[in-house]
């Protein structure tokens, strides 16, 4: 199973300009809802979850976030990849009292996460390699993003 298959060109956004986290979630929800990938409740649930269990991750050079919500609000699985024109603040996964400037977001729409450990491991491997993060941040097309994910699969 390839992680690249979870990508959907409609949910790859490059240099997206969002004024804050709520704006980001609203924008991405509308895209996913229009394509029939998520339930109506997805928006309020993902926001709520992010406020209780934040998903910001501080890496060496950049910060990323992996927002997600309970499986029942996801109709069709996806991994949205978004690079941000201007960083947005997310609280840290291991310390909600601290915020970090996130410039890359992987929004996860998984409805059987426990059956997808290989996919998640590949995603972690992408996050853990600084050159992948740099390449994603400088990507200018969906194709480039897909290629980075494809390479991961070849290595896994």
């Amino acid at each position: 199973m390839s992680i690249e298959r979870f990508l959907n060109n409609d949910l790859i956004k490059l240099n997206l300009l969002c004024k804050d986290r709520d704006h980001f979630f609203e924008f991405m929800f509308n895209e996913a809802f229009d394509k029939g990938l998520v339930d109506k409740q997805f928006l309020s649930k993902i926001k709520e979850r992010e406020s209780i269990f934040p998903t910001g991750l501080k890496l060496n050079e950049f910060s990323v976030a992996i927002p997600h919500t309970d499986p029942q609000y996801v109709k069709e699985q996806f991994i949205a990849v978004v690079t941000l024109e201007k960083p947005i603040k997310f609280s840290l996964m291991d310390d909600a009292s601290q915020e970090t400037d996130v410039c890359l977001v992987f929004m996860l729409g998984l409805n059987q996460p426990h059956q997808q450990i290989e996919i998640l491991k590949q995603l972690m491997a992408i996050i853990q390699n600084p050159s992948n993060i740099k390449n994603l941040l400088s990507a200018e097309s969906c194709e480039e993003v897909r290629n980075i994910f494809k390479q991961m699969e070849a290595k896994a």
């Binding site: 269990f53 992996i66 997600h68 996460p113 972690m124």
Partner: protein
């Protein structure tokens, strides 16, 4: 004596599956006799009496009677060896 480790997720949080797998391998490789149980963070309170250690990918909403370790390092890849050691030490 066999130890019990709870790997907690927020609410079916995807990342804890990966952490659970990593912890299982870590303990096996180091011959630690332990059972790794994946559960929701809300269940930890009621299950801690039978466990020795809590490993969580998210912030802990409350304090517990047994030691707890936050395992975000397994997701970011930063400080993974130190985290391995911390977990092994906690189970000694």
């Amino acid at each position: 004596m066999k130890k019990t480790v709870l790997v907690a997720c927020g609410a079916g949080i995807a990342t804890s599956t990966v952490v659970c797998n990593r912890v299982e391998n870590l303990l096996k490789e180091n011959n630690v006799n332990a059972e790794v149980i994946q559960c929701k963070i809300s269940e930890v309170k009621s299950r801690q009496a039978d466990a020795d250690l809590i490993i969580s990918t998210t912030i802990l909403p409350t304090t517990y009677d047994i030691p707890s370790i936050i395992a975000t390092a397994y997701i970011t890849g930063i400080g993974m060896e130190a985290l391995d050691k911390k977990i092994l030490d906690a189970l000694k």
